[in-house]
Amino acid sequence: MIRNSDVAYGSVAIFFHWSIAALFIGQIGLGWFMLEDTDPARQFWLFQWHKSFGFLILALAALRLIWTLANRRPVEPDSLTAFEKIGARAAHWLLYAALFVVPLTGWAIASASPLQIPSFAFNLMVIPHLPMNVSQAAERFWADVHAVLAYGAAIVAGLHILAALRHHFWLRDGILLRITRPSASQGTRK
């Protein structure tokens, strides 16, 4: 089914989850590698790809937020303890927030940089710079904030993945399947 039910996620929510997850993991790797790259021409292009995928994540996150607000949220299974529920909710909210603040702080770097390199997403669309103070100090500040938030989000995502694997392989409660099979919710929507 397309929409969420009370007990399971619909296909659209599942698409957003996995597409953004793949992009986010790729961006963490690309962001790390591009800073280490010693070939200046390739490094330039890696930065532009990183910016393009960042804008894509931001756009997907905005659409995902709209979809989430327009859908019911599946309830947590009763098998979860109170502590597990709190942990899961905290991780979900942090990751959701990261989908916005990490791309936005990246956008801020490009906007604040004295280099003023245009953001030409996938060589298709010019994304204007944010109206903000342009200086090397401002660029450094936002670069630091971006890195801390991105790697912080990666740590939260790692915990989220470990929790999912624990449910699937250790507790064997089928919770992971809720985000892999839209049909799992069939007939349960109230």
Partner: protein, 191 residues
Amino acid sequence: MKTALPFALALALTLLAAPVTAKGDALSEAVGKYEILANSRIGFRVAQVGGGGISGTFSKFSGEFALSSSGISASKVQFTLFPESVDTPDNRMENFLRSSAVFDVASFPMVIFRSTKITQTSATSALIEGMLTARGITKPARFQASLMSRGGNKISFQVTGIVRRAPFGMDVGTPIYKNEVEFDMVLNGKR
């Protein structure tokens, strides 16, 4: 990168001297071998998507042009630019331009232009065609030169031209940054 000045010089000389009737005499006034002075200005600009662009100058260069007594078409220009001297508003931009991504100054410290043909286009202007070598690649290039001033042993030309960078293996950044590099130079010569 541009060495159109000499041509312009020759042209200017002709103009100043008395273009129509006393061409030989006029030329003879300006005939000679000129050295391009360090107070010349080598400016460039690369437009970028969405408006604006990168602009800068090169501060280290050398060159000379010979205004022939046989006329402008027999004159010659030679110009050497040291791209390591690139100057832009941002230090990182300069280092990027010096790097292997663009000029690769470590391997190719000089950009050289030699004229092959100079054609007068008006009383005070000329078209300078020649071969431009950058990053070890030689391609034809052309510049327009127009006389700005002449007096005593000195002469000044404004030289403009557009060079596409991709043929020289410098296409990094396209299409964010345009392929065309617009040169706007003031070449001051002294004989």
